[in-house]
Symmetry: C2
Subunit: 191 residues, 2 copies
């Protein structure tokens, strides 16, 4: 059942910026410079990078993804959070109320972000037609199985359905490393 197979996209630490925060970090009127398209239509990796300054350490040159969003959002792994010395929650993208803050540093300035740092909940992007074919709905939690020497089943994979999405399972580097996965690996939806 090939429709039950989902490709894996491994997300390293990255951030999305609001236009206001982009200008505070990179200068007035600054526009993001796209360098590489991502799996989701219209999304891209930008040339711009930012330093994340935590209580314990700084992680340098963290990639900005575009286009700009309404609110700035920083996505890191639990491993990163230990290095930085902060304690973010596991959240769905955009669900930022009450989340942890951090200091962002760009070439033109620093921002003390009050909230916006999350560990992204593992999630499966699906086009509306793919969701119908798989008989799953937006915000449903499903399970996805991986084989191999570090085989595991990820429970609580959040399904996100949108006519602008393409089938892609987004996990972070901790999850990919725990399962022994590289970009382009395939998992099987087992619900």
């Amino acid at each position: 059942m090939t429709e039950n197979l989902v490709p894996v996209g491994i997300y390293n630490r990255h951030l999305h910026l609001s236009q206001a925060d982009l200008e505070l970090l990179f200068g007035a009127g600054h526009q993001l410079t796209p360098t590489k398209p991502l799996s989701q239509p219209g999304q891209y990796a930008a040339e711009e990078v930012v330093n994340l300054i935590g209580f314990k350490n700084t992680i340098k040159k963290v990639r900005v993804l575009g286009p700009v969003r309404e609110k700035t959002q920083v996505e890191i792994s639990r491993t990163d959070s230990f290095m930085l010395g902060i304690n973010p929650s596991v959240r769905d993208s955009g669900d930022l109320n009450g989340t942890t803050g951090i200091i962002l540093e760009g070439p033109k300035g620093q921002i003390e972000l009050k909230e916006g740092v999350i560990i992204a909940q593992r999630h499966l992007h699906l086009h509306t037609d793919e969701a119908a074919q798989l008989d799953v709905v937006d915000k449903q939690l499903i399970a996805v199985k991986f084989s191999g020497e570090r085989g595991l089943i990820f429970d609580r994979v959040l399904v996100r359905v949108n006519p602008k999405f393409a089938k892609d399972l987004h996990i972070d580097t901790d999850e990919a490393n725990a399962a022994g996965l590289v970009n382009g690996a395939f998992g099987e939806i087992v619900k």
Copy 2:
């Protein structure tokens, strides 16, 4: 069924040294200084730490576990391996043939280790009586389930049975972070 519950022991990067390598790194006649007992009877964290020098970076102050072993063995996470710039295999402890090397640095010298770096295969230590009670045998592969917001089922958990062992599921930091676990969490054997 409380006998199906297993406590989690999260292993950060660490190494075991042969007596010969211990002396090369810390000086002739050096003996390990135990500081903290581990979950497995007779095993301990030592005061001694060693630097791991990879192709890309050095990871400093990596803990030595005692007592000394016949062969030196370095256990790191996949995340660590990317930082170091080396590519170790996932292996059962002691299965070191053809594994990756690294440079070890102690206060009295360096060693170029030809092999011995592994990513430890997730495994469950069981006393012989516990294995009998659970109806599993040495080297069997089982599955262990964790709930919570990053819930998952680890497949391919290697069972190791020995009258000197105590029930403890050993996973590395990537696996713990992917599952949102801390030391002392409990998983359920689901076979």
